[in-house]
Structure formats: C-alpha cells, structure tokens
C-alpha cells in the first residue's frame, strides 16, 4: 500500500525504558509499526512489548496465539495487562546477543471514530541460543475507545529496550483513489 515513513526511533547505548511516537499525523488511512528489538531483562524469553495509545489506560483486550518450546497455545490478554496493548516480542540482550525480536503491527482506520484493532505478527529467538526458547506469535488486539490515535508509547512487560533496538512507524494511505460508497442493498 502507499506507505510513508513517519518516524524511526533507534535506542542508544545504555538502553531506554520506552519508545514514544507523539504528534502522529492524521492524514493517513492506516498505521504500520515495525519493531526490531531486544529487552534488557534476563531470564525472560522473550519479553512482550506493549503500546499505550494516547493517555488511554483502560479498554485494551487481545487474543494471542503463540508457539514456543514445541507447544502451541492461545490466551487472552497476555501478561494480564488491560491498561495497554501487546504489539510485539523482544529477544533478550543475554547470551545470544545476535538474536533480535521482529514485530509488525497493523492498525487500520486509526483516525476514525471507531474502536481500534491491532493485528500483530511477531517472532523472537530466546537468549539461550536455543531454538526451543524462541517464540512465534499472532495477536488480535482491541482498544475499546473511539479516539483517534495521536501517540504511541512502547514499553516491555519486564525490561528496557536494549541498545540498537529500532521502531519505525509508517503511514499507509488509500488516498490515491476516491472511495466508492455503496448505498444500495
């Protein structure tokens, strides 16, 4: 889709606790968030990434499907968080320093007065350099709030973003075609 980069954040040496996209332009149709990341926490493989929309701290829910360690499972509301929404997973900065989590989140109609849906695909190799500690995840997220999305604040469930982690926000537009409104049954 016609896609434009809005902003990229790269985490510097020393890491940081959050990544923030503020003053998000309102002239696109959808948003795409791409994260390549490590978490500074050890002993958690992988660490889930969450996003808070604007200053909204309630109304988040999700269905998660994930595969790890030879098993597959599905849960509601990962980490039992309902004050922010999951948007990815990170590898640890531990022993396998070359492992990075990769996550994409698609948010359609982010400026419209509708509940917001988050479609997430993510994968991360665990820190023990063992494929069995890796994880693949798909998630259907919902923010039961009609507000347009003007900011996203990303944090981990446990650790900070490690040096070199990047998050890129893209705007996707269908503005090149005029919408056809169907009015007849």
């Amino acid at each position: 889709m016609a896609r434009s980069k809005i902003a990229t954040v790269t985490v510097p040496s020393g890491g940081q606790s959050s990544i923030v996209f503020s003053s998000i332009p309102q002239n696109y149709t959808d948003l795409l968030l791409v994260i390549k990341s490590q978490s500074t926490i050890s002993g958690v493989e992988p660490d889930n990434i969450f996003a808070q929309v604007n200053s909204i701290t309630s109304g988040y829910s999700a269905k998660l499907l994930y595969a790890t360690s030879g098993t597959i499972n599905s849960v509601n509301n990962p980490n039992n968080f309902t004050n922010k929404g999951m948007v990815g997973i990170s590898s640890s900065t531990g022993s396998a320093g070359n492992a990075w989590g990769v996550s994409t989140t698609y948010i359609p109609n982010y400026t419209k007065s509708v509940y917001k849906t988050f479609s997430v695909d993510a994968a991360a190799e665990g820190s023990s350099n063992n494929a069995w500690s890796s994880q693949f995840a798909m998630l259907a997220g919902l923010l039961s709030n009609n507000a347009a999305i003007t900011s996203l604040t990303l944090t981990h469930a446990y650790g900070n973003f490690g040096q070199g982690s990047t998050a890129t926000l893209y705007g996707v537009t269908a503005a090149s075609v005029l919408p056809t409104t169907i009015t007849t049954a």
Partner: protein, 162 residues
C-alpha cells in the same frame, strides 16, 4: 521512482450489505493486497467468505491455524466452493483482515492467497488457500452468507508492482 504498492479501489459501506465486489481488476501488477476492516450483523456465525472471478465451483483448498484465547487449533477444507474465513468482527469490535493474492495476473499457475484475520473479541487466524485455476484474477467478491457487513465497513484493494 514510483510507489511499489498502489491503491486501486476503495469501498466504504454507508448501508449494510451482504457482499462487496471488486471487478475489472487492473492486470498490470504482480500481486494484490485486500485490506478490510469490517463487522457483520444478523449472522450468529459471523462468517466472512470470498470467491474470485465468480467461481462457485469446488475449486478452493485452504488450511488455517487460529487461537481463540481459550485454545489453539487448525482446520482445512479441500475442494470447497469458496474461501472461508470465520468469526468476523461483531458490534463495535471490527475485524482487521489482510489478504495477499500472489501472482494474481499470471496465466500459468494456480493462485495462492495468504490471509491474516483478527477479530479481537473472538479469534486471531492465519490461512493459506489455493484457487485451482490458472486464469488471472479479474474480480474478487467478499460476502457473508447470512446477515450483512455493517455500515462503516471498509474494503481497500492495492496492487503490488513487480
């Protein structure tokens, strides 16, 4: 340098409707992407289905994996008369769906569709399907066999350049 992905058509419903069709699809691209944000009403099964080129014959194979929050599963159908994606959005919880139609304009291979669907109050799902026909895809019809897509549902078709 032109854009690699181009919006071809956009449909927004301001009245509830049982189906939406993109016809006379531009054949100058390599792949198609259909991005949908919608919910259904008056259908307790919240079904979302589609066909290509109006083909209602037993020419679709599909396999899917999905999670409902209470369990993970997979299922498949061979020689089906349609591509089935179940558990649409309902109420205010719109479903987000992205379908890639790979090599849609070629005439020497069957067509593969890769689909992701997320209805946050019900399911997260990934599916791959094959339309057993070498004809180029010239139309796509998305429909719900019972009920209608609600007002405000959006369907956007993009072309991906080679």
């Amino acid at each position: 340098m032109g854009q690699a992905v181009v919006a071809l058509a956009s449909i927004t419903l301001d009245t509830a409707k049982g189906s939406v069709t993109f016809s006379n699809i531009d054949q100058s691209f390599r792949d198609l992407i259909l991005v949908v944000s919608q919910a259904t009403q008056n259908d307790p099964y919240r079904q979302y289905r589609f066909r290509v080129n109006g083909d209602s014959g037993a020419n679709y194979n599909q396999i899917r994996m999905y999670g409902t929050g209470s369990g993970a599963s997979s299922s498949a159908e061979n020689n089906s008369t349609e591509i089935l994606i179940f558990n649409n959005g309902a109420g205010s919880a719109l479903a987000s769906m992205v379908t890639n139609f790979m090599d849609y304009s070629v005439s020497d291979k069957h067509k593969v569709l890769i689909h992701r669907a997320d209805a946050p109050d019900a399911i997260t799902l990934a599916e791959v399907a094959r339309w057993a026909n070498t004809s180029p895809i010239t139309s796509i019809t998305a429909y719900t066999p019972a009920g209608e897509f609600v007002v405000g549902s959006t369907f956007i078709l993009y072309g991906v350049k080679a």
